[in-house]
Amino acid sequence: MARFLAFLLVLMAGPVLALPAFAQASPAQSAVVTTENVRSELVSEVATVKAGEPFWVGLRQTIRPKWHTYWKNPGESGLPTEITWKLPDGARADPIVWPAPILFDIGGIINYGFKDESVLLVRITPPADLAGPLTLAAEANWLVCEDVCIPEEGKFELTLPSGTAATLAPPATRTLFEQARRAVPTASPWPARYGVSKAGDPTLLVEARGLKPDAISDIYFFPAEWGPVATMARQTATVTPEGIRIPLKKGDAKAALPAQLAGTLVLTEKTADGTVKQAFDVSATLDPAFVPAATASLANAVGAEQLSLVQALLFALLGGLILNLMPCVFPVLAMKAAAFARLAGHERSEMRRDGLAYTAGVLASFAAMAGVVIAIRSSVGEVNWGFQFQSPVFSLLIAYLFFVVGLNLSGVFEIGSRLAGVGQGLASRGGTTGAFFTGVLAVIVATPCTAPFMAAALGFALSQPAPATLAVLLAMGLGLALPYLALSMTPALQRLMPRPGPWMDRLRQFLAFPMYASAVWMIWVLTQQTGADGVLYALGGMILIGFAIWLLRLGSGATAGTWVRRGIAAAAVLLAFSATLKLDQSPATAASASGGSNAGVSFEGWERFSRARMAEAVAAGKPVFVDFTAAWCITCLVNERVALEVPAVRRAFEQAGVVKLKGDWTNRDAEITGVLKELGRAGVPLYLFWEPGADRPKILPQVLTESLILSELSSIQQAKR
């Protein structure tokens, strides 16, 4: 087909040339050189050349699967492919025009190169006085590696007839050249400059203003040569209003940084029709006025976790299990336990159904949450764990829910009373439906408890494609439901449960108190989000709800009075819920805007976190401790009470001269969200510790102890001596 098209084309080009061109089997290609790992050929874009008129040839290499060859800067090991030309006098071959490379990470050693297929383009200028055919001879050397490296070589010869005008090669060959040109980086449409930090590390700034951070990903700068930039260091580029900013590490070359830092910038852009990979040649001018704040790079943080899917699933399962013990889930679980005790002695099948229904409720909620996360992410581009709790409306509704469940447990109204539509009504209803909704309730209240192990799994979940997000969240749900599920399935365990009796009512009434406590906590969270007004709306709303319940309990039946009471009750509930409308108008970011005067997160003895402040303190060679916290994060608060704010630790911080920074994530905060994301985390708590002079932070565990902090601090004290 290709040849037929070529024939047609040649016919159109001129009948004189047609026959000879057609007769040659493959005029624009050298013989194929097949080495152990690469199939190579020299290809020309023209079928005939014209004296003095430049044209393009390409060294086309098909590389054995999983093996790779190298770019002009091969990275930390490897060698670039080389072509040595033997040309007739007066002919000239320009340097190789390289396609954009890809990155290979071989056990942590970074290489730049090509896999599968590469075409290295070279422009050839024939002699001005060329008469007769032009013979191009080339010797190419390349290194091809998988785990082991093999130097290979090939000799190529290509003879092209000359004529009064150059003619093009067959369409298939021309397509090859078109593709090869698309793989070559284009000149950067933006100016670029770079500055050097006090520590000597360069930061590249490509002044692409107004890019949408959400739409740009996988940014990487391939330095054009070994030396000025360390290729081993992980790069964490950010899209800022000024442009793309890439902090780099200085390389091993002793020479001063060059006036121009050249390289290839690769990025992926999300467009309406999918993602497009782009490559630009960048040459950044050294700007002495641009001194990047410091090397405070979060890249390579010690303890930053990169998980595989299997690991993430295991972490999620573990995290879900641990959720059962968290104070925020406990009341719901206790409620479940009470329900279970009531079931004791019933049919085994009923138990099993109950356990399955509860599990189904939990899983359905997690699936719904995954759906929401995926939907939000595809529209907004970013989601964080606990994001629900950054909404005051959500906090208020949860407070109401806790309150109503508490009233129910106290016996203010009875199970089965007709409060259809209210979630707790369903949850406290007996039987399968009740069990299902208890599961839903458990999930709703579990979300603020980012238990240990969960952060990394959630960070992974939120950054993965939809199926993985769903899988990880479901694994977590399974973990949450597992203890109860196991109990309901195992008669041996059931036998250990106490017999039902009057103690059950007492237990139920007692369990109301953790519920009220949870409601109080939620209201407190609300005040952090909205200020003191939040208390007014929340408590007012609770009175209205209590009033509605009282009205409904006065009597039942179809009398006119009953209907009036129901009407008033409905109005009271509506009024309570209308508080949510009011909340959105109130200063929702009071805590962060007002500088923390009414913040629930205490800043006593701490400085407010900002990247700039952190960078400054790190650059000054001080030890820096960063606490990312939120008022609604119980683990955070517990850590502060038991580890960070105990006198011994306070004293140790002071003696070591630690700069203590606190990031409050109670409300949305883009800067903190960015840091969490960079470290692969989806939520708080997160603790960073920079030893003096360190170029990267250490991530401390999510559960802190006094001794852990003290041992961290003593290690720097020793280093000082």
Binding site: K66, E76, S77, G78, L79, F104, D105, I106, G107, G108, I109, N111, N141, L143, C145, D147, V148, C149, I150, P151, W226, G227, A230, M232, A233, R234, D252, A253, K254, N300, V302, G303, E305, Q306, S308, V310, Q311, L314, F315, L318, P452, F453, P701
Partner: protein, 213 residues
């Protein structure tokens, strides 16, 4: 590449505490010129233990090796490595060849194989250190074989990089190349600062252990 996501055994054991802190696969920093060289201690192919601390007062050369690597072969086939080892020994320099390929990887040698190679290649290092867990290589941030280091008599790292200036696998390039290590050693022994203290090392990717544990 594909080998990076090896599920860690610690996790499968369900040991939550261990799983909390997965080890970094590779330290991305190499030691700085002018700073104390990282200490090491390793057993050589004759069972003798060598540690840097014991070599204070002597100039030390480290040469990472993998005898099957084409770039290592280049310098041994042309006798370039052996010649430099002898020159160094004559000047009282301790030349340590470090076989850093992990067990099972290309270039891994037993003590017997190491000695056989020394004999068959007529090599003359002070010792061949066996580094099957790549600990020495890791401490020095070695990325290739051969990767060369010079440590002065005070234990300061004064050179790191390639054996010479022409990165190729062809022995014909050796006479044309600047022999960085030879030049640097002369400067160190003359008490002068090393002019080119950090160069690009070229060779085969160092065969570190596949799993990080």
């Amino acid at each position: 590449m594909s080998k990076l996501n090896v599920p860690r055994r610690t996790l499968l054991l369900g040991s939550a505490a261990l799983a909390m802190a997965p080890a970094a696969a590779f330290a991305t920093s190499s030691p700085d010129i002018g700073k104390p060289a990282p200490s090491f201690s390793a057993i050589d192919s004759n069972g003798k233990t060598w540690s840097l601390a014991d070599l204070k007062g002597k100039v030390v050369v480290l040469e990472t090796t993998n005898h099957d690597c084409p770039y290592v072969r280049k310098h041994y086939n042309a006798n370039n490595m052996q010649d430099q080892q002898r020159e160094a020994a004559a000047k009282g320099v301790v030349w340590l060849t470090v076989a850093s390929s992990a067990t099972g990887e290309q270039g891994y040698v037993t003590a017997q194989q190491a000695n056989d190679l020394t004999r068959s290649r007529n090599a003359a290092p002070a010792a061949v250190l066996l580094d099957p867990q790549s600990k020495v290589a890791r401490a020095y941030g070695a990325t290739v074989t051969p990767h060369m280091y010079i440590i002065d008599a005070n234990g300061i790292l004064v050179y790191k990089g390639g054996i010479d200036s022409i990165p190729s696998s062809s022995t014909a390039d050796i006479p044309k190349a600047t022999q960085y290590v030879r030049v640097a050693l002369d400067q160190v022994l003359a008490g002068k600062p090393v002019a080119e203290a950090s160069t690009r090392a070229y060779g085969c990717t160092l065969k570190y252990p596949k799993t990080s544990s």
